[in-house]
């Protein structure tokens, strides 16, 4: 018995469910860039206030250059304004508006700053748990560091002049120059910078798999238990369609839905990254067609694995609520793995932990992309093959445990 009629029926129902499709497509495309805009552009529009409490009445010289609190404050204000024009710097009177960061320049600051035996201390207080204060404080640290670097450079030049030595301040401040000429894979082999970028992109792509699991599970739950709720399953179960055929058709259609959702999500993630990085040089490397092909294969096999993991749970659940709760456990498991790849390199974990992680299908999704990025194409395909094999085994198992009676008779 061919499963084509059921697949056709499922697609007809799917493409005519305009509202669900629209939500599936539009929501990530709108949500992710919006999130990025909220995270970046709105932050840049935010005004932060730094109050400089200038208690310094001292002065000092480096060569002929006089440094006092006016020099210090002007230097810091100029640096801050260059970095972020939206920062409001108040010097003198305490402002009426909310203050995000307070910089105290204590007495003798300028004297110590110009001294060859003392260090000058600037005190910073900031609002706790505030992203805005974090950002402004970070800009202030940069401005202070610039002041420090500049004074240090002037002191070195002055010392050199006094000693009659031709000095390059950089040679004294940073005698070691670090240049990254190439990268290495976990195997120790040298990889190109392009490959290194690929590794970073692979990490992001692996993370974006987090969006793959949910839509396909939602669809397969509805596809099977929704038929029960809409009172169509009983007729379908008495047709000559085999259990294997039923499971295969439902899984295939749901995987296509998942693939569609995943494609939309990947586009949304890319938009998110582009907006977030505002010109970060990703685009050239992202268009690597082979990486995108591998990613496509991984996405599809991940969706299949998700469906096949949730299928036995769904067909034994009886009710939509139970199925959704059980399926959400699978989604959480997937999310945990995909999220962790942002911070953890699975291939560098101890062997025993790796062995445990290998039992989780999603580990293979991540490793497939990462291994490809490192140039291990065979390894990448082995992980995809493992995912697909596991999916097939689980789908066959689902068809074996599919029990019409348990689906139809309400649990007592």
């Amino acid at each position: 018995m061919s499963i084509k009629p059921l697949i056709k029926k499922e697609f007809l129902e799917l493409v005519r469910d305009y509202k669900s499709l629209a939500i599936l497509a539009v929501l990530p495309l709108v949500m992710m860039p919006t999130l990025a805009v909220f995270n970046t552009y709105l932050q840049t529009l935010e005004t932060g206030v730094i109050y400089i409490d200038n208690q310094d009445g001292s002065e000092g010289y480096i060569g002929d250059l006089k440094i006092d609190s006016t020099y210090v404050v002007n230097y810091i204000v100029r640096e801050l304004k260059q970095r972020d024009p939206n920062i409001v710097v108040v010097v003198g009177e305490v402002p009426d508006t909310a203050i995000d960061v307070i910089l105290t320049i204590p007495d003798r600051f300028s004297y110590n700053l110009t001294s060859f035996s003392e260090r000058a201390t600037a005190k910073v207080m900031r609002a706790p748990q505030s992203p805005k204060a974090d950002r402004i404080a970070s800009q202030l640290y940069s401005a202070l560091w610039a002041l420090s670097e500049n004074v240090s450079r002037l002191k070195i030049i002055e010392l050199g002049r006094s000693a009659g030595i031709d000095i390059d301040p950089q040679a004294i401040r940073d005698p070691v120059v670090i240049v990254v000429t190439s990268y290495i894979a976990p195997t120790g082999e040298t990889i190109s910078i392009e490959q290194a970028i690929k590794v970073m992109i692979a990490r992001l792509l692996a993370f974006s798999l987090i969006f793959v699991a949910t839509p396909s599970i939602t669809y397969v739950v509805d596809s099977i238990l929704g038929e029960k709720e809409r009172k169509t399953i009983e007729i379908l179960l008495t047709t000559p369609l085999s259990k294997k055929g039923l499971i295969a058709a439902k899984a295939f259609t749901s995987s296509i839905v998942g693939l569609f959702a995943a494609a939309i999500d990947v586009v949304a993630v890319l938009m998110f990254l582009i907006i977030l990085s505002r010109g970060f040089e990703l685009s050239g490397a992202l268009v690597d067609p082979v990486l995108l092909l591998i990613n496509g294969l991984v996405v599809y096999s991940t969706i299949l694995a998700t469906l096949s993991l949730s299928m036995p749970v769904i067909i034994r659940s009886g009710t939509m609520r139970t199925a959704q709760i059980s399926s959400s456990v699978i989604t959480i498991l997937a999310s945990a793995i995909f999220f962790s790849v942002l911070f953890v390199d699975i291939l560098k974990l101890p062997q025993n932990i790796q062995a445990v992680l290998m039992l989780i299908p999603y580990t293979h999704s991540v490793l497939s992309i990462q291994k490809f990025a490192y140039g291990d194409i065979a390894g990448s395909f082995i992980h995809i093959a493992l995912l697909i094999s596991l999916s097939i085994v689980l789908l066959v198992l689902s068809s074996r445990i599919l029990n019409e009676e348990k689906m139809l008779v309400k649990p007592v």
Partner: protein, 249 residues
């Protein structure tokens, strides 16, 4: 007449509740067989067992002289039977025509258009109606489509659970007449459950009365009236049910 379906000593138990007790029924080729009984008597469970959806806890099921054992036997039976559950509906996003075509293809990929043609005829729905999504149909129209789906593949046995339940008198008469016409034309065996005694009298060749999971009468509707001395089938069944209750006590 050839026996097409038998239930032999069938019991169905859910937890501590026995839903069916020692059900023995023989259904013959070309007859319209009715299963009647009060709510909760076990009609739907019996029909689901006949439709191979529910397995008996004890006892056997025999289709066309063959005992049903594994999944292979069940699939073989499902090619020859159709089942219309009482609580069933159409796929709302498919048109009437697409709905019939989907099921026709599940039974016969090559000759599905002929099957659909018959389905269109049985449904009595206009071409215009059939080109609309079934979600726009009235309950009566959906029920006619569901019946057409059950009969269009010319099954050896069509099992219909309360096919006219909840329908107005016009739809009721239309469906009833189509069932009778179809049986006469194609010799399909019809097994149906019903609450409507007028329906039973008008289309059923034989009837079984089930009460509290037990078959308490099997015979023709006329025999039931005669045996109980009742004025009509409704009264006859009430008497049979009461008598069965007295016997139990």
């Amino acid at each position: 007449m050839e026996e097409v379906l038998s239930l032999i000593g069938v019991y169905k138990v859910y937890g501590s509740r026995t839903i069916l007790h020692d059900i023995n029924l023989q259904i013959y080729s070309g007859e319209v067989f009715c299963l009647v009984g009060p709510n909760g008597a076990g009609k739907t469970t019996t029909l689901r067992i006949m439709a191979t959806l529910v397995k008996p806890s004890r006892g056997h099921l025999r289709f066309f002289g063959k005992h049903i054992r594994g999944d292979g036997d069940i699939l073989d039976v499902r090619r020859k039977i159709t089942y219309l559950p009482e609580e069933s509906d159409t796929y709302f996003r498919l048109t009437g025509y697409e709905y019939l075509e989907f099921f026709a293809k599940l039974y016969d990929q090559d000759n599905y258009s002929e099957i659909v043609e018959l389905g269109v005829e049985i449904s009595g729905l206009s071409k215009e109606d059939l080109s609309k999504k079934t979600g726009t149909y009235s309950k009566g129209m959906r029920r006619r489509l569901l019946l057409a789906r059950s009969l269009m593949v010319k099954p050896k046995i069509a099992i219909l659970d309360e096919p006219t339940s909840g329908l107005d008198v016009f739809s009721n008469v239309a469906i009833r007449s189509r069932i009778r016409e179809f049986t006469d034309r194609y010799g399909t065996t019809i097994i149906l459950s019903s609450h409507n005694m007028l329906e039973v009298m008008s289309i059923c060749d034989r009837v079984s009365l089930i009460d509290r999971g037990r078959i308490i009468y099997t015979g023709t509707p006329d025999e039931a009236i005669e045996r109980t001395g009742a004025r009509d089938l409704e009264e006859a069944f009430i008497k049979l049910v009461n008598r069965s209750g007295d016997d139990e006590h």
